[in-house]
Symmetry: C2
């Protein structure tokens, strides 16, 4: 293997595949990045066996020469050192050559590294998912879907299936649901571009995979192709393949959790509500498990309060844009409601309560594209 590559292009692609490389892997070869020089360009691969990322750098792109390949071949180099080195190299281009016995020479400007490589034949193959049916979503929409659901996955391994986000595709409608059994986040989108009548219901993608994916994809309207296979899902961008394993187990049926009726419905500014709860929770963070109280008052006013005898008390007033239904007296986790409010894109939100001990819902004023459900905390 021998090629010369534009340094900045190499750096940004290495940073992308690094997102899949873990230093805590038990499989030594996975501490490396696989580099393959073919007659079309350079392919970089990183993996922690849960997530695998493959980046492709074409020889030429938009009239710009990225790579000049003089000898095809492949090598695996220690990811941590390789990423640090290419970031710091002084030249505009980097020359890489595999010498004898896997030693790889990296030259740029006045700098020369000789790194001990690993045998590329030992690097695990990526899952075969091509040929399977798929559908597409715009990159920026995919990022929103992830941001609006992934925070609600469980961080406990007691029920591993809850550490993932459930994706269901039915009649062209994708529903993404996450819950840690104290709260639930759900996002709906209509899929326009898909193969045939693709439907699935029990796909559970690890939260960590989705968080890494959201970091790696750009905020553009480029289409991301999504292919679901046996126990893998593949997100396919222009020059990037992102594989994640799927979680085993049956995702619980969450549709029965959502109340159909409500006793109190308020419309409120998401930002005002968020900031008032944030302040009320300053004192609650200590002893009281981050729980704040909401009590309705006269004239569409609500009081949000918290009391930590050792530190002090706080009272916040929030004015609802509209208030319909019964009086309200409810306690909840400030963190859960703040997470939910941050996930709402609208400036005004609808909050509907069905009593102090029943889950309440936060939704946009119009449409049902987002639903955030939160279980209250018993204090009265």
């Amino acid at each position: 293997m021998r090629f010369t590559i534009n340094r900045e292009t190499l750096v940004s692609n290495v940073q992308d595949v690094m997102k899949a490389v873990s230093s805590r892997t038990t499989i030594p070869i996975l501490t490396g990045i696989k580099i393959v020089a073919s007659d079309e360009g350079i392919t970089l691969t990183g993996s922690d066996s849960d997530i695998s990322i493959e980046c492709f750098i074409p020889i030429q792109e938009d009239d710009r020469q990225n790579v000049e390949i003089s000898k095809m071949g492949s090598i695996v180099l220690q990811a941590r050192f390789f990423a640090d080195i290419v970031k710091k190299l002084p030249g505009e281009t980097v020359e890489m050559e595999v010498l004898d016995s896997l030693t790889t020479r990296i030259r740029s400007g006045s700098s020369e590294f000789n790194l001990n490589g690993l045998d590329p034949e030992e690097y695990p193959r990526l899952p075969e998912v091509e040929g399977t049916e798929g559908f597409s979503i715009q990159a920026d929409l995919l990022k929103s879907i992830i941001r609006q659901t992934v925070f609600a996955v469980s961080t406990s391994e007691t029920r591993p299936v809850l550490t993932g986000v459930n994706w269901q595709l039915e009649e062209g409608r994708l529903t993404c649901t996450a819950t840690d059994s104290h709260r639930l986040a759900m996002r709906n989108v209509t899929i326009e571009s898909k193969d045939g009548d693709l439907n699935f219901s029990n796909i559970v993608i690890p939260g960590k995979s989705l968080s890494e994916l959201a970091k790696i994809i750009d905020d553009t309207d480029d289409l991301i192709e999504i292919i679901v296979a046996e126990n893998q899902i593949l997100f396919k961008a222009k020059q990037l393949l992102f594989f994640s394993r799927l979680l085993d187990g049956n995702y619980p049926d969450t549709s029965k959790l959502v109340p159909n009726e409500s006793k109190t419905t308020i419309t409120v500014s998401a930002k005002q509500m968020l900031q008032a709860i944030d302040r009320a929770s300053v004192l609650a963070r200590e002893g009281r498990n981050n729980v704040v109280k909401l009590v309705s008052q006269d004239n569409d006013l609500m009081e949000i309060s918290s009391n930590s005898p050792e530190i002090g008390k706080v009272f916040e007033q929030v004015e609802a844009q509209s208030y319909e239904g019964e009086e309200l007296k409810i306690s909840f986790s400030a963190k859960y409601v703040m997470d939910a409010l941050r996930a709402m894109d609208s400036s005004e939100v609808l909050i509907s309560f069905t009593g102090a001990m029943r889950p309440f819902l936060i939704r946009p004023i119009e449409g049902d594209s987002i639903l955030q459900l939160i279980l209250p905390v018993r204090t009265y």
Copy 2:
């Protein structure tokens, strides 16, 4: 105590005094910020007993009304909560009032906090250093002096006096020295404004105090007055007092460490040298204790290299602007030389060596305002 204060002014002053408050103190009252309302304005004090910071907010400043005081008095409030609260309050102003039994009401916009206060009478008094002779330095110069020396203090408590920076004032010349016994950083400045013929030699200021001071003072040409007392030093800016205790013990005489002669002298770009050593140390960080080699070659060229058998080798070439004297073969800690090069403000530096086992010096091309000394590592 009762007053109304501009919120932004309060926030920035609270952030300043917070730099002295430690959550790990064993003296409960020092977890608080002392607030005093007098007929001139508001004084805030924070302390961890090593460092004490006092900020003063005058009633009026540059035609702007900062504070309106309706009742003088004082209180101590839990620093962590108070700082978090004022940062998040919604209004442009904050109203503070001590109610009965030390409870303090903080109101702003639609928000109201009742914090349990602590007895201000229990708060320790600040050291008395006023009336003592002092001298002044421009704030930006003081920041430079700190930045160019404090990194070289010892992090080990084996010889506590080495965890501080030694300040000597003799005939109007201030010399600041820090050493961890492997390297030494020294900075000289001429003091123009001082009282009488003030001289001192065994003043040792804790490195941590100086780092905090550098964070808190602005990069302006305002004069900072410096007053040295028995076991305290006071830095006095316009509306800020910064006290630090001094370290006990005799600071070692470091003047004998600096070689008078040199066998090899090179002039080199500080940036090129820094970047080459940075790359050479990427592999050295692992097994070899961060040691790199420098070997002179023909034509003013120097090779900087490192070899970690398990990972690989690296060779860097740096061209000296001038090279005089004997051939060179020396090993040193990459970190120490990088720290020293970063502290140099000049783009070109003079490095003088007196053999592979003798300390070498890094200085600016002209003048003796900065001197960085580094002990080599024996490898040949």
